[in-house]
Structure formats: C-alpha cells, structure tokens
C-alpha cells in the first residue's frame, strides 16, 4: 500500500509537468496583452510597448517558459503582472474562502444526499421516491447562479436572515464564518446533492436485490441497520467515485458561486486573472487545481480499500 501511494504521488510529477506545459502554451497563443490592459484606455502604443518590455513580455516563448519553469522548480509560482504580489501570496489570501466553501458544501451535500438516496431506494415507487427524483431533476436543471440569486433574494434581502455577500474568516468565530457560507453552500451543493442522491439511489436499488440483503432481513436485522450498515457499505464504491468526480464540479461551481456571493476565493481570482491575462496567476491557480484533483483521485482510490476489502494495491 505504502509503495502504491509513493508511486502515485511520484506519478503526479509528469502529470503536473504536462499540465504546466499545456497551460503555458495555451496562454501564450491566447489573444490578449496584459501590457495593454495595464496601460489603460488612453495609452499610446509607445506606453504599451514600454510596459511590455518592463514586464519581459516581449521575450521569446522558450525563454519565458524556461524562466517560469525554473522558478516553479525553485518553489516560486511567480509574481502577478498586475498586483506585483507573489502568486503564492495571492493564492494564500484566497484559499481559505474557497476551501471553506468546498468543505461546507461537501459536508452538506453528503449528509443530505446519501440519506435521500438511501430512503428513495428503500421507498422505491412511492411519493418519497418520486419527490427525491423530482428534486434531483430540478437540482440538475437549475443553474447554480439562479439558485444563488433566489437564495440571496429571499434569505438575505427579503427576510434579512443571512448576509448577502462576502466572507468572514474562521478566525473571527465559527458562526460568523458559517453565516457567510450557508447560502453559497446550498447554492453550490444543490447540483451535487442531486447527483449523489441519484447515484446512491441507483446503487442501493441494485444492492437491495442481492441475496445477502434478503438473508439479513430473514435473520431479523433492523431496517436501519440493514440499509445503512449492510447495503450502503456495499454500495459505497460508486458513491465515493461520484463524490470524487464531483470535486471537479465543485471547483467549477465555486467560480460562479463566489461571483454571485462576492466571496473572495480562488474562483474569482481565476476569473479576474483570465479577464486581465494575468498569466502567472492563471498558471499558478491551474497548477494548484490540477494538483488538488490528482490528490483527490488518489484519496478516492485509497478509500475504496476501506469499503471493499477485496480491493488491494
């Protein structure tokens, strides 16, 4: 197992290298010029050229890629073209809100969706099942920003129950922190709840047909024990896989959610950087997201062994 983990961690290095090359090349050929954005609306070509030179944007592709790669290997993600702040500092400033949003969303989604899916499978064909499936369809169909605006309108503007926007660091207290995350987490989590609930239901339906479930029932195992200990554990592998895949959904959704609720997270940082062509920041954030995604996949692979002892690495 340990050797497997080490092998998988080492395998991230070529993956990250390919991502780095891909991202750098893509940005190089993408239209746009950060020097022109910095110079502003009334700048002359000479102003833009002067800024381009001072930023080193006039250097050849290979020289720029080499310099960037060298910096990365030395643990330096570079400096933002616009803010002059180190990319690592900007990411550090933004990582807490995004991480908080994702964690709260994950907890909310799993704690709501898994029981929903289990109950829907148990009550297959009943009103409960149909209600869960209807929710799942709606959850899939309504975009994150629509859910976000509706929540903000009712819970923040009309009823004044929760803040409409912003983020409060955890260091200022759990409730102030959570207060800012409830609405965004519901908005972001809706599609995720729908996805997990559907997969849980489908997998549970399959498992509930198995002989050992019938045996458990015959032996007099209680309903809850049968559902959550016997059936759910055996249905867990596909559910965990979907949860892992959903992390990518969360990363994408966080960009929209952070905009709707004005949360200063990595999603907004990425969008701002793309709009301005702040290359070092885009590269740094994409590398980070790729790394996180690779690690999440590794964690899921390892989690399989907990639920299915037959799986060995």
């Amino acid at each position: 197992m340990f050797a497997y983990v080490v092998r998988r961690v080492l395998a991230t290095i070529p993956v990250m290298a390919v991502v780095a090359l891909f991202v750098f090349s893509l940005l190089y050929i993408a239209p746009g010029d950060p020097a022109a954005v910095i110079a502003g609306d009334q700048a002359t070509p000479a102003d833009v050229e002067r800024i381009r030179q001072s930023l080193g944007l006039d250097r050849p592709y290979l020289v720029r890629f080499g310099a960037w790669l060298w910096d990365i290997l030395n643990g330096d993600l570079g400096t933002s073209i616009f803010t002059n702040l180190p990319v690592s500092t900007m990411i550090a400033q933004r990582i807490e809100p995004t991480l908080s949003l994702m964690v709260v969303t994950l907890i909310l989604a799993i704690s709501v969706a898994v029981p929903m899916g289990v109950v829907a499978a148990w009550k297959q064909g009943t009103v409960i099942d149909r209600a869960v499936m209807a929710f799942a369809v709606v959850g899939f169909s309504v975009p994150v920003f629509v859910v976000g605006y509706l929540l903000a309108y009712f819970f923040a503007l009309e009823w004044d129950l929760l803040p409409v926007q912003g983020y409060t660091p955890l260091s200022r207290g759990v409730w102030p922190w959570l207060q800012n995350l409830i609405l965004p987490a519901i908005a972001l989590g809706t599609v995720y709840i729908a996805l997990i609930a559907r997969i849980t239901r489908a997998t549970m339906l399959e498992v509930l047909q198995q002989d050992y479930i019938r045996t458990a029932k015959a032996k007099g195992v209680g309903q809850a024990g049968m559902l959550f200990l016997h059936a759910l554990k055996n249905a867990a592998v596909p559910i965990v896989t979907v949860i892992g895949i959903g992390i990518a959904l969360l990363i994408g959704g966080a960009v929209v959610t952070e905009s709707v609720f004005a949360i200063p997270g990595l999603g907004r940082l990425t969008v701002d950087a793309i709009l301005r062509r702040d290359y070092p920041v885009i590269q740094g954030v994409v590398l980070l997201f790729s790394f996180v995604y690779v690690l999440v996949n590794l964690a899921i692979d390892l989690a399989y062994t907990l639920f299915d002892p037959r799986i060995r690495y």
């Binding site: 129950l161 409409v164 912003g166 800012n180 004005a262 702040d278």
Partner: protein
C-alpha cells in the same frame, strides 16, 4: 472579506418576514445580533472594477486614478469652473513675463511615512507624470529647466510662456500629477511602483489589509493638512477626511453589488448598470444621482492607417449616418435626462463646447444618399473589421449599433465581439484588418478626459505617437498648439470651435453622444463629491 451585516428587517416587517420568522428565528438571531459598531465612520464603497494597478502613473485606468486621489494629493486642484486652484501649492509667482514660474509648497505637508513633502519630491513627480500625460509632454516641451530652488520652491524655467501650466498640473484626467516621494517618483513611468505606497493625500493605503481583487482599505491620515481656506469643489479646496476608514469592496457581479447595497453591507456603488439602477430606484433607502456633470462621451474611432478609413472623405461621409440618440438609447435607455445628442467633440456645457459643424449630423437620414456619398468618397468595397466589445455593457451597445449603422451605410462589415482584454490588445496592432488588425472600434471618454484640446486623446493628429487609430493630422496638431498657447478664454473658445470643425472634417472619430452615469448610495451620506468619486468631505448624518 465583509463580515459586517446590518439588520434591517425589524424596521420593515413584511408578511413574508412574519411568516418566516418563527421557522427561522434560531437561524436568524445570531445574524441579527452582529452589529456594526463604529460603522458610522467607515464607508464601504463598491468601485467600478478592481484596482489591479496601484500606480496612477503607470496606467490611465480611472479606477486607479480614483484610488490615487485618496492616497496622494496634487499641487493644484480643478474646481467646478474648470479653473486650477492651489492645492498642495500655497501659491505661485510668475516672473520674466511668464517664463519663470515659482510654485511655493504649503508649510507642514507630510508624506504618510512622516517625512515632509519637499520641492524635489514634487519635481520628480512632475517629471514622471509628464512622460505619460499628453498635457505634461506639452508642458515639458515648453520647459527649459525644472528644479527645486529650496525645500518649498519649485521652479519652472520656460522657453516660452505656457498658459496651460497650472491647468496641466491640476488636470484630474489620468494620469494626474500626484505628488509622491522622490524615491518612488524616480521609477520608470512604464513600470508600476513596487512595494510601499507612500502617499501625500488625506487617506493612507493600508497595504496589509489589501486582498487583491477583493478589498482595498484606506485609513485617515492624521498628518494630512487640508487647505484652510476656500470651498471644496471637484479636486480643489479643503479636503477634510471625516471618515476613519474607507473600504473598497470589489464586487464584479452587478446583482451581488445591488444586493449588498440594498442590504446595507455596502454604502456606495460607483457605477451600477442601467438595469440595476432601475431596480434600485424602488428602494427608498438608496439615493441615485449622477456625480459627474461632464458625463461620458462616446465615440467610434477609425483606424486611419488602412483602407477604407485612411481616407478622410470616407470617414466624413459616415457622419451623416450617425444619429447619436440611437447610440445613447442603446447604452442607457430612453430616459432623455440621462443622455444628450447633438454633441460635438467636447462635453456640452464645458467651456470649449460648441455646436460648430454639428449640422452634418442633423436632418433627415437618407441611407441611399449616404451609400452614394461613401462610394464617391473612395470606398471600394473593402471589408471593414468592427472591433466590438462584448463584456463592457456600454461599449457592447455602442458596438452593436455602430456595426449596424455601418452596414446600412453600405460598408462590408465583419463585426467582431471580443472581451475587453482582447480588444485593448488587438487595437494596438497596426497591421491591415485582414492580417489581424482592425478598422473601427468604440470607446468612451469621461467628460474631464475630453474637456479641452489639451487632454482629448481623440483630437491628436500625431500619428504613431498618438492614441489608437493613429491619424496624422498636422492641421489638428497645429490648432492644439495654438490652443495651448492661448491665454484668454475667448481665444481658447475660438480655437476650440475651429478644432471641432476641423475634427468633423477630418473625422478621426465619430462623436456618438454624451450620457450620464448614475451612482447609487445609501441615504444618510452627505458631502458627496462632484466630478469623480472622492471621499474627502463625505460623512454620515446617521450612523
């Protein structure tokens, strides 16, 4: 990070709130319990965009200029009559028939690091600014020597009298001439200042609380000395900081900004969209007004390097196709109080504005005649690449109407709709339109940036050294020179009329009208500025 949350439901109970309250009381109570102690002297402001570049000389972005007016002060300010008034300067003396100007700094001026403001700081600041500002370049061209005679005296030795000297130093058009410590002002103007932002203005930039792309914080600088006399007017007069802190909350999403303003989580939203303004109009806690009487001028800019717009007659022929009202309605709606048509090259109501030559855009519009006129002027069916902007609503509206107008005028149009970041890059390209260049694009200028020929970038005719479009128009350049040297207002106005007529003949751009951008703030703020979003003299009457 905007932790504060101002409750308001208690003051405005609704049936829905009453129904929801019992169900959600437990959830609500902690939120309602979080107060805003001390908020009376904190102002939360939503700027038009993020202040990506903090250095006001390295960029001409207005949001950076507005940020800079908090942090730095200027030697001269511009009042509502567009007259320069001493600001950091105590006053000046003109000697040798106006060829030697001595500007005396006020006593006791301090930078935010506690160091006194010295004349050599001002000299270095003027030099850096002048390399980027067109009016500054004209000033330096007329200057033989600029020096500091002592700690408080700046000396201009001029080759010839330069009547626009104080106007240049006072112009708030970006880049404005902010006074920085000499060590910062020695930075190349093309390189944004790195590290510390040591200011000279009424508020201190709190670098430690900056979250790039999200929040900027300014604290009152206790060492700032406002002018003792005069009346606050635009960027002139006493700048009294009544607020302890000004927090800029960068909120790119208009719906989030509107919600924050309505919920009291923000106090002032600089530039609401037209849709948001319409929605906010129903909220009695929110005041809407246009702070800038000079408005915003819209224009279509030609690329004068390539056919068909390398020919002035073709450009001029298109003036007859322009109905400014169509553009303005697309930008800001049908409410006539928000826009003006029959607008020339200067903001209506400003000293240089006139109706000279505007008859070309009046009368019945006959597109058959316009098409014939365009052909006779030399249009040979070349493809016209319209560099449209997709993601800035006013510019997107101008682009749409502009492309359609050109089509109706008989031009073969390829209409692009690109993100702003791509447009600003592409419009610096001087290649022919077919090789990745462009033919016509759209821009807006704040009224102050088009206030007179000295600052209006669209009226330059200096070719490759000028604004995008690069027309070479010696006649306009000569007129500008004459305007810069004209000392008296009637002479300036006469030249400005000539410039407008020449500009409509040469047509380096098409004037598309003037609109007034509304701002929205919560009731209870007083001392709101005019001209630009400034924070001195602003205070709350109820916390």
């Amino acid at each position: 990070m905007t932790p504060t949350h101002t409750p308001k439901a208690a003051a405005r109970p609704t049936r829905r709130a009453l129904l929801a309250a019992p169900l959600l009381a437990a959830l609500a109570r902690p939120a309602l319990g979080q107060g805003t102690a001390g908020a009376a002297r904190v102002l939360r402001f939503i700027p038009r965009s993020d202040v990506a570049v903090l250095d006001p000389i390295a960029t001409t972005a207005h949001v950076t200029r507005n940020h800079a007016f908090l942090v730095w002060d200027t030697l001269y300010g511009l009042d509502a009559d567009a007259a320069p008034q001493p600001q950091m300067a105590e006053g000046h003396v003109a000697e040798e028939e106006g060829r030697r100007i001595l500007i005396r700094l006020r006593q006791g001026l301090l930078f935010h690091d506690g160091e006194p403001v010295r004349a050599r700081d001002a000299v270095a600041s003027i030099r850096r600014w002048a390399r980027r500002a067109s009016l500054g370049q004209a000033l330096m061209a007329a200057t033989e020597e600029l020096s500091a005679a002592d700690d408080r005296t700046i000396v201009f030795r001029l080759k010839r009298p330069f009547p626009r000297l104080f106007e240049a130093l006072a112009s708030p058009s970006p880049p404005a001439c902010f006074v920085m410590p000499e060590r910062l002002a020695r930075t190349d103007p093309g390189t944004p200042i790195r590290g510390e932002l040591v200011g000279s203005g009424p508020f201190r930039f709190v670098a430690g609380e900056r979250a790039a792309g999200s929040r900027l914080v300014y604290a009152r600088f206790e060492g700032y000395q406002p002018r003792a006399e005069g009346e606050a007017s635009w960027t002139a007069g006493p700048k009294r900081a009544h607020l302890d802190r000004v927090e800029w909350l960068v909120t790119p999403e208009p719906a989030a900004a509107a919600a924050a303003l309505r919920a009291g989580e923000a106090d002032w939203w600089e530039e609401p969209t037209a849709e948001a303004l319409a929605a906010l109009r129903r909220d009695r806690n929110i005041v809407q007004e246009s702070l800038d009487p000079t408005g915003v001028l819209a224009l279509a800019r030609f690329n004068a390097l390539h056919p068909p717009f390398d020919k002035a007659p073709v450009r001029r022929a298109l003036l007859a196709a322009i109905r400014q009202g169509e553009f303005m309605e697309a930008v800001i709606g049908a409410d006539r109080s928000l826009w003006r048509d029959e607008v020339g090259v200067f903001p209506p109501g400003s000293p240089m504005a006139s109706d000279e030559g505007l008859d070309v855009m009046e009368g019945r519009r006959d597109f058959d005649r316009i098409r014939r006129g365009v052909t006779e002027a030399g249009y040979a069916g070349e493809k016209v690449v319209v560099l449209g902007i997709a993601d800035v609503p006013p510019l997107a509206a101008l682009s749409r109407v502009g492309a359609e107008t050109l089509r109706r005028a008989g031009l073969e149009v390829e209409a692009l709709s690109l993100p702003w970041a791509e447009v600003v890059a592409r419009r610096t390209r001087r290649e022919p339109p077919a090789d990745g260049g462009w033919s016509i694009s759209f821009a807006t200028l704040a009224g102050l940036d088009a206030f007179h020929p000295g600052v209006h970038p669209g009226l330059r005719g200096n070719g490759a050294d000028g604004w995008f479009g690069w027309p070479t128009l010696p006649r306009l350049e000569a007129m500008r020179e004459a305007w810069l040297e004209a000392a008296e207002l009637p002479a300036q106005q006469r030249i400005a009329r000539d410039i407008q007529r020449a500009a409509l003949e040469e047509a380096p751009f098409l004037p598309l009208g003037q609109y007034f951008q509304g701002t929205a703030y919560r009731r209870g703020l007083t001392g709101m500025p005019k001209g630009l979003p400034a924070f001195w003299n602003v205070q709350r009457v109820n916390g």
